[in-house]
Amino acid sequence: MMAGSTPMLPDFPKELDKGKAIQAQYIRRHFSEELQKAPELKAKGYKYAYLFVMGNPIELLRPFGVFIGVYPEITSLNISYKGEAIPVLDAAEGLVGFPTDVCGYVKMGVASTYMANKIKVTVPVIGHMPEPDLMVLHYTGCQVYIHWWELYQYMFNTPVLVYDIPHLRHLEDTAKPHKEDIEYVAEQLKDSVPFLEKISGVPFDESKFKETVKITAETWDYWRQVIEMEKLVPAPYDAYFEAIYYMSMITIYRGTKDALDYYKYLLDELKARYKFINEHPEYAERFRLIFEGVPPYHNYKSFWNLFKRWGARMVYATYPKVPGMELFRFDPSRPWESEAEYMILPYCNINYKDRAEILAKYVDEYKADGVVIHSIKSCKSFSSNHGDFKEYLSKELDVPVLLIESDHVDPRYYSEAQIKNRIDAYFEALSLRAKR
């Protein structure tokens, strides 16, 4: 089979594709109402808490009623997705002084906040980046991330709340945190309450914390069901390219009724899609793949098309699990320990051996034809073991693996002709394998 010899996977009818549009409205709300209106919201007593996507303890912040989460990673990826990365990278390298090889998220995150608050120039596609009132350093698995928050501290003299999160070592059970580690983090969460009360000026209400964890638990259960729907053949959605849109609600609005309602709706939409695909086989995938790694946001849709043109759909992907693995369940009956466990479990905090096992397990469970790995120069935490994953899957388990390299936010490291060539060759080989 050659590229173009079979039709491209079509887009779903609009009535079956509202999930992405709804999340886009929420993203706009985040940037235009929550961040753009920082001066007036700050005057009303709201505080901007900078958080990472991976394993943040937003459930602990929401009960205070004054913290607004800011996610500079999401800021950076949105700038890149909208095609505005180059001027911001230029500012990061020229004005701020970063070397080119530093993580693109860090460079763009620092530059966009610096530009908005120090030289009073905002990046049009995201608008104003508020000056932080609190930096929560809850993901310590990446050394560069620690220094990222440190830079904001120097710029704005902002207090940094540090939670020391143990690395998830390889234990007997795959991706299962150690009891002592959970207790260690839970104690830190409890110890941080007086500090949060001081910053917010609001007394902590534990019942509100429990209630927030309860909402998250319910939301998480719907999100998990969405993920597991991909075990169906044909698959009702792309577990990478579409799930990245879907994941924004579990990332930005976790612990709110909005997020809960969103995933309830999404699950229904996807059930309707599954029924539709069964009645319209031209929407069914010809290849089922698993995707590991962060996407090239700057060329998001054209990159996706390189797979669609071969009729391929991702049925499982690790990246949308970065905010937390679906193996985990929030438990409202033990909120402190549950929050702690969640903070230990982000995908990048998991040791490489378990990550390889997770990939292998899902090849089997999701009936995948192969694995695509996109390695990025920005993120050593995500990418440094990709060569070993490829070797393990292809040599020991006979799973066809494609390893491609570029960057997630920096378009200067992306060469579509080269990437397309590798993807086409991979599908040619998969086609022959399927035929024989």
Partner: protein
């Protein structure tokens, strides 16, 4: 008898093969790609027809490969050069299980099965280090051609190691070696060795399963073959046909498609 044409539009050269339905090569030719890929492909088509005396109407399919494959306006189907080099190398040397291809702008190592299908592959990253262009740029800056560079490098007594992976910086580094009085023979050896060292890195990633076949333009350089064989301590398949491996593979895909169509009716 029916015929197919395989055209490999590479970054430096466009190669063409005319093959009959019995998988026999009837004619082959090569031309510089230049700025207009379609014109180069057209030139090759004309030359192949002239050389073979085959009528155009007897050519049932044209299969394009290489970076310019989608630009060939008269191409019927397109297949990547990764699949084509695998198939072409296997055709030339049927015991091939690993293919090293070094062309003008990329380097690839392909693991193939007993049918010549791709099992796995790796390629160089997107910079020009480890490609034919890397060698070409440096030897050109010395006012040499590939034959001169080969003749000189084969006389080297102690090769010089170039540490730069950037083509432009490596060119400067080579010039510096000349300035400090190193022998040009040793510098030329260092240039070829630099590329082959990178190739061995890729071969290690895929795993070397004998036999290894060396394809692409660089395989025509005896010094490159010699360094490869010395470093790997193994015999390497190569011939004056290996630069056509991509075009041969493309033609083989064409024959396969003809057979399928006839079978389906």
């Amino acid at each position: 008898m029916d015929y197919v044409m395989g055209i490999d539009a590479g970054s430096t050269y466009t190669k063409g093969v005319l093959m009959n339905e019995d998988r026999e090569i009837v004619a082959l030719d090569v031309t510089l790609t230049g700025a207009n890929i379609n014109n180069a492909a057209e030139t090759i088509r004309r030359k192949l027809l002239e050389k073979s005396g085959i009528k155009e109407t007897d050519v049932k399919l044209v299969v394009g490969t290489g970076y310019g494959r989608y630009v060939i306006r008269f191409g019927n189907i397109q297949v990547t050069e990764i699949s084509c080099h695998a198939r072409g190398a296997h055709y030339l040397f049927p015991n091939t299980r690993t293919v090293l291809d070094i062309g003008g702008q990329d380097m690839k190592v392909i693991k193939v099965n007993e049918r010549g299908d791709v099992v796995d592959f790796v390629m160089n990253d997107k910079c020009a280090a480890g490609t034919g262009r890397f060698v070409e740029n440096i030897i050109k800056s010395f006012g040499l051609n590939f034959k001169d560079a080969n003749d000189l490098a084969l006389k080297s007594r102690r090769g010089i190691a170039l540490s730069s992976t950037c083509t432009v910086f490596a060119q400067t580094e080579a010039m510096e070696h000349l300035a400090i009085g190193d022998a040009i023979e040793d510098i030329m050896y260092g240039v070829f060795k630099s590329v082959i060292t990178r190739a061995i890195g890729l071969i290690t990633r895929v795993g070397l399963t004998p036999e290894l076949t060396f394809t692409g333009g660089l395989s025509l350089n005896p010094i490159a073959v010699k360094i490869l064989e010395t470093m790997l301590k193994t015999k390497v398949n190569h011939s004056d046909m290996t630069m056509f491996a991509g075009a041969i593979g493309a033609a083989l895909y064409g024959v396969e498609k003809l057979e399928t169509e006839k079978y389906i009716g």
